[in-house]
Symmetry: C2
């Protein structure tokens, strides 16, 4: 126990110092072992690590180093490490594994983890892994793959612990004690009726703390809800977070129990969905990973830059309408980007709040009108504030009260346009059934660039040149 | 059971149709009941709802409607609804509750939920709630409040289930069966040594499925890790997600067990941290909520727009250095925003990947150099691609090969600058100990605006005007 305690202290210290990030010295150590071809040293370095941390190391090192690492240590790769690996390098790792290592690795996994690995693989690797499974597991995995991608059916594990709804605590305990094949982790016993419909669940804590003759039906949880096998995994994650679920039974179209989803899988989905949101809002394909190479990275980003180029050219063609005004008053060229930039930033603020509100289902048809109205007021108020600040700045910079007036007026117009664009565009994209995080950014800044340039240069032409 | 089954079907249907978002018709119905002053109708509408959904309704309706709702239905508000409420309206709701309703509401909560409610309240309300608790709960809450905000100590619940490390399964079962005061939800029995140090834990599933004479020590989980009471809650959430923890013991500086954190709380933290990331990246204070009013919204956003204004003025002053060039060739005014805009977008892409990589601890000192190098290559490659596209566009638009050359060269320069700014600025902000999502955006687009305008106008002046 003394040992145990020391280990624990060390862990705690490590956690406080390093916040769970990989120790760069450890990575160094692994890299020199790889360099030296010293498999024993790699073994020693990997031994105390969690599979998730080993997967992180594989992701952090370069692809050349990874290949050498795998040639030295392929026998260390197990199923858990495979499931922790980022998709972007999983294929590469699988290719490097001897056949019997791969076979053993996938055999030790639950069906949901095998599905998670297999769904992103190319055909030959898919076959390889399916072939490695025993018949019943292969059937389970193949069945899961018939459900749509990103559905509850792909996320669930098929190993469930059930009891007839009319059992008592004692019967449940005896059944569990005889314990045929229980899953590694389970938190509830699901009660089913004779038609295999789940009708409630009981926590293991309640079973343990109740008398043997208590009916299971009497101690079911209020929080019970079932999840349809076709439900989007993002909605599943939302339900877990909203209703504080720990596990939830999954049912087919006939309401029959087909599996169970546990909160750790829901949490992983929540994290992935968030990743997608952040990256999509910034115009990056949602699948980006830190271990992607240059070409893969360009493939994710260049198309969006191309879309941006088109919108930027559109905004520039607005400027070119007014070239004679700019020729007459060159100060216009200096000031016009300020109007566009303030609009772009204000719109991005509104957009982020709207996209997040849609993701958390806080922005709904019930309050959309009120939020739109709030955004217009905020836009107007900020418009007035920055109209005054920039009007005065323009006046002292260029000494023209009329130019200051034009600046102020176009600032108000553009910040109200920014508010409208920032909220209406994501609402419209959502209404059309697309992810509002996707493409909103490009559309919204097009609005603020075009309105910014047009209002500023147009007013200047009317008021300053027209005079 | 038939009833149960029908209810379930209905639930499933609702989930498929509506993805758990609040039914606007339900909100309508509540609003007309409020309008009509019909407390019974509100009761009927609320009865089937989960506390989280009731809280959502309170957040979705306007503040005037909320006040009337509360005057009609304050007795329906319980502890669970209070904990689900967004901070932005919690104070308002607490103020509207009769004293005995508030007392009863907070008494039924676990200590961690009371801490979560109380920590954001103003002093008088804090006192009010502390006063409502019985002595032992008050002591527990007061103790938790001594831990830093956003620490594991605030997040944990103090109700833990422990057993001496030398017990057998049978002893643990008897202890649980006698069941003094067990928490509502628990998933592990934590083994402690005589000095109250946690040395392992056992899942309830293992206890249920093992023979009575098996030692608890023999069936502990490999995943066991403790969390320091001072640890940042964001790091706690990371550890749960990384290591698939369901619950984890919390220890003080002497490694003594002081509480336990469960995954549902960790998941809620993960979600909040996401919210902060998205909003901060977009230049909104991380605390924004859909129920904030106009003034509160301005308070969160206007300061960032002011920072943006300063950086925009800085970029404009670069333009004003070259006003004589623009006067000579007005096409420069038309084309310059395109260079700046492409740079800003490319930088935002890199920034989002970097900020996300830092948040998930995938971007570390071990791979930072490789990622910086990747970004430079991606920037250079995109620079060449868009230099060609925009060079040709500029040539056909304005018919000047030299202008096309200037356009292309400045595009390459600015996209490389964007890559450098997008990765180095968040790394630097993180290194200084701040949240890289905060302020990165403003700094990064300043770089691309200034470099974009300077390189384009400077090269144009050298090559086109200098000629």
């Amino acid at each position: 126990m003394a040992d145990n305690h020391d280990q624990m202290t060390e862990r705690t210290d490590r956690a406080e110092e390093e916040d769970y990030s990989l120790d760069p010295r450890l990575v160094e150590q692994v890299l020199s072992a790889v360099e030296a071809g010293d498999a024993a040293a790699i073994d020693a370095a990997m031994a105390p690590l969690h599979a998730a941390d080993i997967a992180d190391i594989l992701e952090q090192i370069g692809s050349g180093e990874r290949a050498r690492f795998l040639s030295l240590w392929s026998r260390g790769i197990d199923g858990e490490i495979l499931s922790e690996l980022d998709e972007s390098i999983r294929e590469e790792v699988i290719e490097a594994l001897p056949h019997e290592v791969l076979t053993e690795a996938v055999r030790e996994l639950d069906s949901d983890d095998v599905v998670d690995i297999i769904e992103d693989l190319e055909e030959p690797h898919k076959e390889l892994i399916l072939g490695a499974l025993d018949d019943s597991d292969r059937a389970a995995v193949t069945q899961s793959l018939t459900y749509p991608e990103d559905s509850a059916g792909r996320l669930m594990q098929r190993e469930v612990v059930t009891a007839p709804a009319d059992w008592t605590v004692g019967q449940a305990i005896d059944f569990l004690r005889d314990g045929a094949e229980l899953p590694d982790q389970f938190y509830h016993v699901i009660l089913i009726d004779p038609r295999h419909h789940p009708v409630g669940y009981v926590t293991l804590g309640k079973i343990l703390s109740s008398k043997r003759d208590v009916a299971l039906q009497a101690i079911t949880e209020d929080s019970f809800r079932t999840i349809s096998v076709l439900e989007e995994e993002g909605d599943v994650a939302y339900a877990f977070n909203q209703y504080h679920l720990i596990s939830a039974p999954v049912v087919d179209a006939d309401d029959r129990l087909v599996g169970v989803i546990t909160i750790d899988d829901a949490m992983a989905v929540l994290d992935e969905e968030h990743e997608e949101d952040v990256l999509r809002l910034a115009g990056v394909g949602g699948e980006s990973s830190i271990s992607d190479g240059v070409m893969e990275t360009c493939r994710q980003r260049t198309p969006w830059l191309f879309v941006n180029l088109l919108t930027a050219i559109m905004a520039s063609s607005v400027i070119s309408l007014f070239s004679s005004s700019i020729e007459a008053i060159v100060a216009l060229a200096t000031l016009m980007p300020i109007v566009a930039s303030q609009g772009g930033n204000a719109a991005t603020q509104t957009l982020a709040v709207a996209v997040r509100g849609l993701a958390t289902k806080d922005l709904t048809p019930s309050n959309a009108m009120r939020i739109i109205w709030r955004e217009i007021q905020v836009g107007g108020l900020n418009g007035v504030i920055f109209a005054i600040i920039m009007g005065l700045t323009a006046y002292f910079w260029f000494g023209s009260p009329l130019l200051a007036l034009v600046m102020g007026a176009s600032m108000i117009i553009n910040l109200i346009a920014a508010a409208l664009g920032g909220i209406l565009i994501p609402l419209a994209i959502e209404k059309m059934g697309f992810d509002p995080a996707l493409a909103s950014g490009a559309f919204v800044t097009t609005v603020t660039d075009v309105v910014g340039f047009f209002s500023f240069l147009g007013l200047a032409t009317l008021i300053l040149i027209g005079h």
